[in-house]
């Protein structure tokens, strides 16, 4: 299995939305490649005829009645918001310009 280059590590960090320092990126490059070497072991197994397992208990399509149930009080939810305006959470602007 091909290893991860420094550029790959930087790309994955961006996909994961992790701002990493140069030292962290260098350390992770070595560690991730060491861990990926362990993954290679799975290639020994022929799994072409094996179905994947996503969960281990046979529960499917759990439904509930479509009824209104109480939600949490606004104050309880908003107490953890880093920035708020009344009953709203202030979020960072996601569109350009002077919003």
């Amino acid at each position: 299995m091909a290893g991860l280059s420094r550029a790959d590590v930087e790309h994955v960090a961006y996909l994961a939305r992790l701002g990493l320092t140069d030292a962290e990126l260098s350390r992770l490059e070595g560690q991730l490649n060491h861990i990926l070497d362990q993954y290679a072991k799975l290639a020994e197994l022929d799994t072409s005829a094996i179905a994947p397992t996503a969960q281990t208990i046979e529960l499917e399509n759990i439904l509930r009645e479509d009824v209104v149930t109480p939600s949490l009080p606004v104050e309880a939810v908003l107490q953890n918001a880093p920035a708020r305006d009344g009953d709203f959470v202030i979020v960072p602007p996601i569109l350009g310009g002077d919003a």
Partner: protein
Amino acid sequence: MDITRLYAHEMATRLRAGTLSSRELVLASLDAAERQNRTLNAWLTIDRDRALAEADMADARLSAARDEGPQVLASLHPLLGIPVALKDLVSVAGGQCTAGSRILEGYVAPYDAHITERFHDVGAVIIGKTNMDEFAMGSSTEHSAFGPTANPWALDRVPGGSSGGSAAAVAAFHVPLGIGTDTGGSIRQPAALSGIVGMKPTYGRVSRYGIVAFASSLDQIGPLARDARDAAALLHAVAGRDARDSTSAPIAVPDELLALPAADDEAAAWLKGKRLGLPKEYFVAGLEPGVETAVRGAVAALEAAGATVDEVSLPHTDYGLATYYIVAPAEASANLARYDGVRYGRSTRLEGADFIADYLATRGGGFGAEVKRRVMLGTYALSAGYYDAFYLKAQKVRTLIKRDFDTVFAAGFDALVAPTSPTVAFPLGARLDDPVSMYLSDACTLPVNIAGLPGISIPCGLSEGLPVGLQLIGPAWSELDLLRGARAYEAITADAGWRTVEPADLARVEDPTVPSPGERIRLSV
């Protein structure tokens, strides 16, 4: 008599008789926890006022029940008035819940977890929240953002992890019962390294509503205790279907969990005619000789007491580590995407920057090294072009690993017997810089999570003065049998010398000259 040395079932007997109050028990717990936390760092939050209020409520319920007569008294749950510890990823409304992470420091849970509600219902008293590896990712509790926890058996060693705070608090007699979560071994491995009982129930047995998620197809909640009866009572209190966790199964929780035999001969009789399998793949390189000796000794004792033991094979065991370290990080990378600093948690907003820069700064500054490693692994394993090679492949191997267990249980084995951890507690700092060696700590436990099965670790002796854990693994929903098996093992080893040995470093745990575990790590680096 030091009341903190009582088992929960002994406390319950005295509470009902009125010879002991919950307030006395809770005060003793709080005092021990507060006095010893500098050297153990087992607790992140100790809530004295809340605990004493809950204790008074429990005493009022006990007193009212005594007035109403023996029948009402007998209907009380045995956990009423008993002090318990919660791992700091269980939501308690109005209390901090950090999951061991800087990114959740100061976060106040707006609601109770399902298991918190159950504790309120039965009247158990929550003493506080315990230390853990950040987001439950780790096998030593060293990956906590709030410093490592020390092992009461040897203060320069880890208690295991990720539920190391709960394990240390129970091993040090602060509380008779603790809650942990187990994604790859995080209840059983710290139980083994701390010399106590720890059970991971079947996937779906306990609702995870209100628990901070790590890997959703693997996570389960379970008990840490000093004996099988107490573990069974705790499981009874929290297990069962809850509509708010769709993966919690509508399977009846047996009331027999509250009736494990007290008498040793009755308990030991369970073993007669039982078939136990010894998976040969769990006795290979990396297993410390002292651990192997203790585990094989335990197996011989089980056999002598009437069980049949045969070697079995779980041929895909060797693929467990790679499978786990694809599936768990992949699920973690998705679960941890929610920590973006927008609605709650640590938030870094940079002046004039776009919102992605805010995310990068918030997450880069808020997560610790191990969490970053796993999020990176998971993101990579799920990324375009690698999904089939990693994640889908791992899910297929997961099928093979599960089939190994299905085949053995279909052949008539009641349970499998194996080591819990290949080693005893290791020194603080020893595996911090080598992630793969840390991951190998869970080689004997993580296949059980991959297959969704129940497993329990029970103490089975000492190696070089440190505890060794024996693991019993059963088919799905066999918790009662595993606990009966654990109780039987306690019964047949009731007179063993190692049972009377208390954690050695409890003698030094209040010594002001002993460094804290955080100081030890800093000194060793």
